[in-house]
Structure formats: structure tokens, C-alpha cells
């Protein structure tokens, strides 16, 4: 599969290297080339300087042929905007969007984006850990 990941932070870089190991064609986009240091030296995909809310940069990353687009930057709004470009302008079959703010996440999920809120997921996870260990 051709996969584009926008944002090469800790999660983005790790996801990119995992997918690369599985043999996918991975392109990572970031507005700061310094972020690419997080990619392992064995990474065989493409690391591209560019902003994912800019259509030119998305085209350079090969958005027209992409099967999956993942938005992983720190900015909820940037993620939301790039995912909507991928979904509504370039008809990418699978679009995944990280949104920290749970309220915004719910709204965009209702509007048809496939969203994940780390805030919600982690809070739930930690809650379960804490309450699980308590009952032992």
C-alpha cells in the first residue's frame, strides 16, 4: 500500500518505520527536516519536507496515488484540514486523523472522518490500569 504520514514526531516516525518494515510504500511529510532524525537509518521510505495543508506538497508526496493518508501533527486543526483535503479533493480511500480535543474529535467523526483522540484513548487506558490494579 502507498501510505502518506503527515507529521514526523515520535508517533509519526514510529508508525512510518513499522509500516516500512512491513513492506509498505511510506512517505513522511514534515515542515521541519530536523524531525526526520527520528526515522531509523534502516527506513526505506521517503522523507519529504512540506506542509500537508498545502496541495502542492501533498501532490509531491504522491497523494493522487495514495491508499492511506494519516495526519499526525501536533495541531488538531492542521490535521483536520489536511485530512479533509485528502478525503474530499483527492478521494484517498482511507484517511486517518489524530485530534487531541475530544469535542472536536466527536464532531469530525460525525462529519465522516475516521478520527482518533489520544486524549480519550490514554485517559481510558490509564483509568483501566489504575482500577485494574486496585482490584487485585
Amino acid at each position: 500500500m502507498k501510505i502518506i504520514i503527515m507529521g514526523c514526531g515520535r508517533v509519526g516516525a514510529r508508525l512510518a518505520s513499522l509500516l516500512d518494515e512491513d513492506g509498505h510504500d511510506v512517505t513522511v511529510l514534515d515542515v521541519d527536516t530536523y524531525s526526520f532524525r527520528r526515522l531509523p537509518s534502516s527506513f526505506g521510505g521517503t522523507a519529504l519536507f512540506g506542509n500537508g495543508i498545502d496541495e502542492e506538497a501533498l501532490k509531491r508526496a504522491g497523494i493522487e496515488e495514495a491508499d492511506v493518508f494519516v495526519a499526525m501533527t501536533q495541531g488538531d486543526n492542521r490535521n483536520v484540514m489536511s485530512c479533509q483535503i485528502a478525503k474530499h479533493i483527492y478521494d484517498v480511500p482511507r484517511v486517518l486523523c489524530r485530534i487531541y480535543d475530544p469535542l472536536r474529535e466527536e464532531m469530525y467523526s460525525a462529519l465522516g472522518l475516521e478520527t482518533i483522540s489520544p486524549t480519550k484513548v490514554f485517559a481510558q487506558l490509564f483509568k483501566e490500569k489504575i482500577e485494574g490494579s486496585e482490584s487485585k
Binding site: I53, G75, V80, M81, H88, I89, D101, R104, M107, L111
Partner: protein, 220 residues
């Protein structure tokens, strides 16, 4: 009207002032506490500190009864989200977004933003109007109908000088509305009207036919 302005930067500040003078109920949403204080000190309680992209903030300021939300922060993505939250969470009837990148206009319209304003485009249009040799300038865009009103100048180089209106092969959906000659009074073009150097032609067309219309009218 109750108008919410997202972003208290220079644009938001002067917009707030102008809208207040026009007698509207206006509230600026601004994340920065210092900017908020400056506005409040000068104009009273017309600034609320908060993120205009958050549904919760918008709920607190009664966005449900707002007639309009104008997003004028410096970031296109923030303006898009503020408009979308206002529209989908609070049913605001009209949303306006400022654009930094003019190319985002199509996307924003597609995603439900009612009006987009690109400062780059506005300045470009003003420049085109000021440059006398530019053969075609935009006067007005009628979004709902997909039409534009343009101004085409007939210059000495135009191959259409001396031709009549009926000799021109105008593209579909293009109509000549008015001819303003270099000298004399404006007149409505008839089939037998002869084009002269110095004529200014006001025409209605579609954005797609603009180039063809310019060709048909000026021959350049």
C-alpha cells in the same frame, strides 16, 4: 446582528471597531490574554478569551444565536475549523473565513464555508485594475450563479478594432452588457455596434470562459 469574530489580531481589531460603529452586537474571541485586555480596556467587554475553534468556547458565548461568524486569524486551518464548528455544532447561518493561501478557496467552499476572502486576491485584483494595459479585469463574482462580471479594454493592438459586435464569436454564456467608449457616453451594445480603440466593455461570463472571451473581444 450578532457577529462573532474569531481572532483579535490587527484585522480582527479593526473589523470589531467598524462593526461596532455600524451598530452590530460583536464579540471577538482571542486566545492571547494580553490582546484581550487591550481590546477590553479600550472598547469594553467585547472580547472573550478563548479558542474560537473549540465547540465549548463557542457554546459559552452563545454562538447558537449568532447570525454570522467571521474567522480572521492568520492561519487558514484555524479559520476553517472555527467556521466548521460554528456551522455544524451551532448552526450559524453564515460563516466567513479569511484565507492566506488563495488556493484554499475551493476547498473551503466544498467544506461548507459560505464566503472566503483572500487578501492576496483582493490586492491582485486592485493591481490589475490599476494597470491600464491589462486586457481583462474582474469586477465582481456572483458565486451563487457561477458568473463573473469583467471589464475588457480594446487597445490599439486589438485585432477587433473596426469589427461589429455580431462579427465576434463570443463563448457560450457570455453577454456584453455595456460599452464605455474612450470619449462619449456609455451605450448598450447592439449587433451593429462597431468596436473602437479605447472602448471598455463590461461583460458577464463564466470563470471558465474568461480566457475565450478575452480572446474574442481583444484578439490578444
Amino acid at each position: 446582528m450578532y457577529i462573532i469574530v474569531v481572532g483579535g489580531g490587527r484585522l480582527g481589531y479593526y473589523l470589531l471597531k467598524a462593526l461596532l460603529i455600524e451598530g452590530h452586537e460583536v464579540l471577538v474571541l482571542e486566545k492571547d490574554a494580553r490582546i484581550c485586555k487591550t481590546i477590553t480596556d479600550e472598547m469594553g467587554s467585547v472580547c472573550y478569551r478563548g479558542d474560537g475553534c473549540e465547540a465549548a468556547t463557542l457554546a459559552e458565548v452563545g454562538t447558537g444565536r449568532a447570525d454570522m461568524l467571521v474567522a480572521v486569524t492568520g492561519d487558514d486551518e484555524d479559520n476553517l475549523v472555527a467556521c466548521q464548528v460554528a456551522k455544524h455544532k451551532h448552526n450559524v447561518p453564515r460563516t466567513i473565513a479569511r484565507l492566506r493561501n488563495p488556493q484554499n478557496a475551493t476547498l473551503f467552499k466544498k467544506l461548507g464555508v459560505d464566503v472566503t476572502i483572500s487578501t492576496t486576491d483582493l490586492i491582485l485584483e486592485a493591481i490589475e485594475r490599476e494597470v491600464p494595459t491589462h486586457p481583462l479585469t474582474h469586477l465582481l463574482t456572483i458565486d451563487e450563479k457561477g458568473l463573473v462580471i469583467v471589464d475588457v479594454k480594446i487597445t490599439a493592438e486589438s485585432t477587433t478594432v473596426g469589427k461589429t459586435v455580431k462579427d465576434l464569436s463570443l463563448p457560450k454564456q457570455s453577454n456584453l452588457v455595456l460599452i464605455i467608449p474612450g470619449q462619449g457616453n456609455p451605450r448598450t451594445p447592439a449587433a451593429s455596434t462597431v468596436l473602437q480603440e479605447g472602448d471598455q466593455i463590461i461583460a458577464v461570463t463564466t470563470p471558465e470562459s474568461e480566457e475565450a472571451l478575452r480572446n474574442a473581444l481583444s484578439g490578444i
